[in-house]
Every structure is written in C-alpha cells, then in structure tokens.
Symmetry: C2
Subunit: 198 residues, 2 copies
C-alpha cells in the first residue's frame, strides 16, 4: 500500500478544497492515486452539495466588473448562507469572476429554464430548416437538434457557459466546487450586463 | 463700472464651467455681480443645451459603484456624442457619481414618464384617502395631491432626485450643467441597482 505523505494531502486539498481527513482517506482508499482521489472527493462534494441545496441562502455579495474603457460592465448577485462565508476571499473572488464572465461571455439568461419557450422553438425550427434536405431519418434529426440546442444553451445561459478562467469547468461546476470548498449552498441569483449603445 | 479681475473670472468658470470669454462678458453685463452672472450663464447654458438635445448620442460610459461591503451596487449608462468627451475626467466622474447616486438614493425609475399610470393612480388615491376628512374644497385637494405627487417623483425618479453630492441640484440639473460644461448633449439612458436579497 502506498505511503500517503503530508505533501500529497496538501496538494489534494489545494485541488479540491476538501478537509485534511477527507483527503487522507481519499488517497488511502485509492492507493495514493491523485486523480482517482480527486474524482472521488468531487463526487462526495457534489453529494454534500446536493444535501445543502435546501438550506436558506439570503446572505451574499454583489460582484461587479467594468472592462477597461468603461464601455461594458456587469453586476452579479451571488448568495450564500452566512455573512462569514460572504466575506471570505474565495467568495469575493467568485463574485468578481462571475461579473467578469458576464462581461466577456455575454450570457442572455441565467439558467436553461429561463430561456423562453418561443426562443427554443425558433432555434429548433432553424436547425431543422438547415438540415431539411439532408435526407436523415427523423430520430437522427431529433438527436442532432437536441445536440445543437445544448450548444445554444452553453452559449446563452450563464450557468452552462464554459468558465472563462478555466474552460474545463462550466460556471455551474465552478459554483458547485466553491459550494463544496466553502461548505455552504451557493446560488447565482441574477446578473445584468450594460454595454454602451447595447 | 466694476473692475472684472482674473480671479473673478476664474471663480465664475469653476462655478459654471462656462468659457473664459463668456464668464468675462457675463460679469461685465452684471456689473461684477457673481450671483447674477451665474444665473445668466446657467440660462445661456440651458439654451444651448436645448439646441444640442436633438444631436445623436451613441457614445458614453458605463458608470459603476459598489458600496463598501459589496451588499449593494449599481450600473448606469450615460451617453454623449463623442468618444472624446466620454474619456474626459468630468464625464467619468459624472458616470461614477450617478452610479453612487443610484446606490444611495434607490431610484425606481429613470424619468417621470417611466412611472406606470397605475402606480400614479394608487399614489393619488392614498393621498386623497389621507385627507378625506379634512373638509378641504376639491380644488385645494387637487393642488395638495399634485404637490405630494411631485415629492413622490423626487423620491423615485433618478433625474428628479436631489444630487447626493450637492442637494441644491437635481440630477437632471447636474446632467444639464455637465452638458453645458462639456458642450455635448448628455443623456442618462438606464440604470440598475442590485442589493443582496433585494
């Protein structure tokens, strides 16, 4: 069995934000395999995050970002459970990063459920029209349209977008990660983006 | 006839933002009376401002302000005619001051015309109910209600509010003053205010 060193635990803590004991246990359970321990802790974190999701979030911060030149800016409200967490550097960075995300990636909606039904229908009709003469069978067409719709959501919904500072994560995954790290339910409540003449 | 000194001209320029020659002429025309010269230049300024009002405004800035503690923030879009004016310190200060105004004074609407008719009717009905048993004649009641409605507009409309840094000016007058000072039509286009849990 692999020896679990303090350095390994420390690195795992930095990568996942999990506690010392959880990191030690995760490494032991996976014979010191760093990547497997990360996956394991992430899944554990998601599970606790789901448990936390019902708790009340009425604290938080207003994150703001105005791009150099002041022609475009954004505000984001991010909620958490306690003022204590709201004041941490991590939470402040999250709020700021999300405002920067809104400025850079121009989301139109917060979550998939916010996209109006007529917009979804119009998108679907466009995809269908594009493929009309492809001769593909209906069930394949449906699957392609669903795929294109998912891409559309990843473009226009803040929580589905790739995080600008780490495109391997969606914004939703980033929020969940901070949720696990800070041990509190975290919710992006609303955002607004102003652009001169926009 | 009073001697017009350079100091007098300088003070008048600082108070009104008008040009050197205009200030000198205004002081001469009013026998060196500072207050009369201010009123005169303000009226002149308003006249030129009115002339400018039809010109196109598609440049400008996004002003932002987040209060210490990051529990409340605001964005404001302020438009002008040229990028040159948008980049001046005065214009940047105006945009910032307006965002601060929105955070501090919590306007709900931009201008009087933005207040929905049903909100106005509900306000009027409340005022009338408050005075129902006062026995005042109808024409007096009407005047009192109009007065109270004006106070309501001064509370909820950004452009009607007293400017927090100089309550002798309304926000609209502040904008007109900068309009005269910078020689361009300036328009506050929109604002938004986010407060945690608000």
């Amino acid at each position: 069995m692999a020896v679990i060193t303090a350095t390994m635990v420390k690195e795992l803590r930095q990568a996942t934000g999990a506690g010392v004991l959880d990191c030690k246990q995760a490494l032991e359970a996976h014979d010191g395999d760093f990547d497997k321990a990360v996956v394991y802790l992430r899944e554990e974190g998601m599970a606790s995050a789901a448990k936390r999701a019902s708790r009340q979030v009425d604290e938080g911060l207003i994150g703001s970002y105005v791009h150099a030149g002041s022609r475009v800016g954004a505000l984001v409200e991010v909620n958490c459970e306690t003022d204590f967490v709201a004041r941490t550097d991590e939470f402040q960075e999250l709020a700021h990063d999300l405002a920067m995300q809104v400025v850079a990636a121009k989301p139109l909606y917060l979550i998939v459920e916010d996209v109006p039904a007529d917009v979804v229908e119009a998108e679907k009709a466009t995809y269908r029209a594009q493929m009309e003469e492809s001769g593909k069978p209906e069930n394949i067409l449906e699957r392609i349209i669903e795929g294109k719709l998912q891409k559309f959501y990843e473009e226009v919904c803040l929580l589905e977008q790739a995080f600008i500072k780490d495109p391997d994560l969606t914004v939703n995954e980033l929020v969940k990660q901070q949720n696990a790290r800070l041990g509190e339910n975290i919710v992006v409540r609303r955002f607004v983006r102003f652009e001169v003449g926009g």
